[in-house]
Amino acid sequence: MKRTNGEKAYAVFNYIFLTLLALITVYPFWQVIITSFSTAAEANRIGFKMWPAEISWEGYKNVLTNQNIWNGYLNTIIRVLLGTSIEMTLSILTAYPLSKKYLPHRNIFTMLIVFTMFFSGGMIPSYLNVRSLHLDNTVWALVLPIGINTFNMLILRNFFMSIPEEIEESAKIDGASAVQVLVQVVLPLSVPILMTVGLWSIVAHWNAWLDCVIYIRDSNKYVLQAVLRKIIIDAAPQFDNMNTTAQDISQIDTEVVKSATIVVSTLPIMLVYPFIQKYFVTGVMVGSLKG
């Protein structure tokens, strides 16, 4: 196929624009990484920089000796493991029956569930509900109220519906119960979509902070994102370890500490993200094509 001059010009423009867009997208992160390695003087020096003039570890010394960060990491890991296990279990148990056309009252169940996507009690009644169940100030307040993500659950249901009934029938003829069919036949066939939904759940739990700020009163139970918010946004002195590590306060800068905090807390996601990206994407496709 021959291309006209106009089309060639557009192709060039297209490549340049997309390259710039990609660079602009990641530049702010790069800026944070540079700042995190800077000395206090360097961070406040006027001038555009692609690389710090001298590398300083002061920011990281502060962050890595900050007990609140480590506590936050631990609480986040607990929350992610517990929350994702609960979400996967509940979602599978709900999605599988709903995927069966012969389930009695299937439409009523589906309607009751889908309705909650469009109408909810809202922030305050949900908060009072968690309190009335005495879940506040425990990790359960962070994992049970979002025990099922309805959108993700429906994606699972759609995938289950696409599995040919004959495959399950043959297992049933061999005498397998519904639970056995689910565990031994359906779930092994659904590994990619389970990975996707599981990863979404992990990311959601990793990034959640508001529920922790609302429900958790003891600061040693704070998840990482809540600790981060205290340090980065609220600049709360009891969280940032600023007065304990630096012998000479002038050697350390709040911007440097904030940047190092951001890097330390975001690094795990940044590192694994390129490798698991394809799983995230598959899920959106399944959801969008059959949803």
Partner: protein
């Protein structure tokens, strides 16, 4: 003896209610499935429907110790209080303005980007651009707000470095009312534009290549092909996404705004969700903030139904 009696009663019953009997048989056959459904339905009951019942406190003088049932009725007192307060209407207006900006600028961005990516023939380049632009989607607004505050900082931010290099005075962007909404819109594009393309790219990959060949035979250039083949092919996806967006017009992005704003810009950036949070959780005005929340939810729900009905009539595409 007793067994036969029971059996005969059962048959009598089944004769009297054949439909009920068939129904019970259905339950028995699918017992395992129904049992599986119990934990999930309990979850929805406890964490979705119970809070909906809790909406009653919008019509009551809610007191923590008395609970939802025990608190005395207050009628529409809290709705009247909200509707007669200037602050409420300012917050309502901010929400609508911000949503309209996002609808105009944030919504088309991933469509345009998807069309541009679709033109790229070097697959490796496409992959790299996609990976980099998806990245902010996975990072929390807490971190992104920190990154943005650093980026726009009057002392260390690169934007102000450039302004200074050209002899200008540094601007405290985050504290300026006239810039703040633009910052919200641009940063939400930054976070979601790449991720938003996935849905459209999936739809684009399903376009029948024969259509392009036919268009070429008819002498259509690339631009014309985009207009007559590509866009119509993804119209249904665009319509569905638009419905969802309009339905969400009152569901402002709490995470984004709450992490990015500060007292200097409250007058343009306070929106319904941050207002509800402040009134309800910081000032413990439970009934008042629930009334505001209920007002918001009812309108949002009506909007979803309305937009869906319209799109079903106009284009045959809809969510249901």
């Amino acid at each position: 003896m007793q067994q036969t009696k029971r059996a005969s009663i059962a048959t009598q019953k089944s004769i009297a209610h054949p439909k009920l009997h068939a129904q019970l048989r259905q339950y028995k056959v699918h017992k395992a499935l129904l049992l599986m459904l119990i934990p999930g339905m309990l979850y929805y009951l406890l964490f979705h429907y119970k809070p909906m019942y809790g909406l009653l406190i919008a019509f009551k003088d809610y007191r923590l110790l008395d609970g939802v049932m025990g608190s005395p009725w207050a009628g529409f007192k809290y709705f009247e209080q909200a509707f007669s307060s200037a602050e409420f209407w300012r917050v309502f207006k901010n929400t609508i303005i911000l949503s309209c900006y996002k609808l105009i600028f944030t919504f088309p961005a991933p469509i345009i980007l998807a069309l541009m990516l679709n033109e790229v023939r070097c697959l490796k380049f496409k992959k790299v651009v996609q990976t980099l632009t998806y990245l902010p989607h996975f990072i929390s607004w807490v971190v992104l707000a920190g990154v943005i505050i650093n980026f726009l900082s009057p002392s260390v931010g690169p934007i102000n470095m450039i302004i200074r290099a050209f002899g200008g005075d540094p601007i405290y962007f985050m504290g300026e009312k006239k810039y703040f909404r633009a910052i919200l819109v641009i940063s939400s594009i930054w976070k979601e534009v790449g991720w938003g393309t996935i849905v459209y790219l999936a739809a684009l990959s399903n376009v029948d290549t024969q259509l392009y060949e036919a268009a070429v035979l008819d002498g259509a250039g690339r631009l014309r092909q985009t207009w007559t083949v590509t866009l119509p092919a993804i119209t249904n996806v665009i319509v569905i996404m638009l419905i969802m967006q309009v339905g969400k017009i009152l569901n402002d992005d709490f995470d984004q705004i709450y992490n990015m704003y500060n007292p200097a810009v409250y007058s343009v950036a306070e929106v319904l969700s941050t207002y509800i949070y402040k009134m309800g959780l910081e000032q413990a005005q439970y009934s008042f903030s629930t009334a505001v929340g209920l007002f918001k939810n009812v309108i949002a729900f009506a909007l979803v139904i309305m937009t869906n009905t319209i799109s079903n009539k106009v284009s045959d595409y809809g969510l249901w």
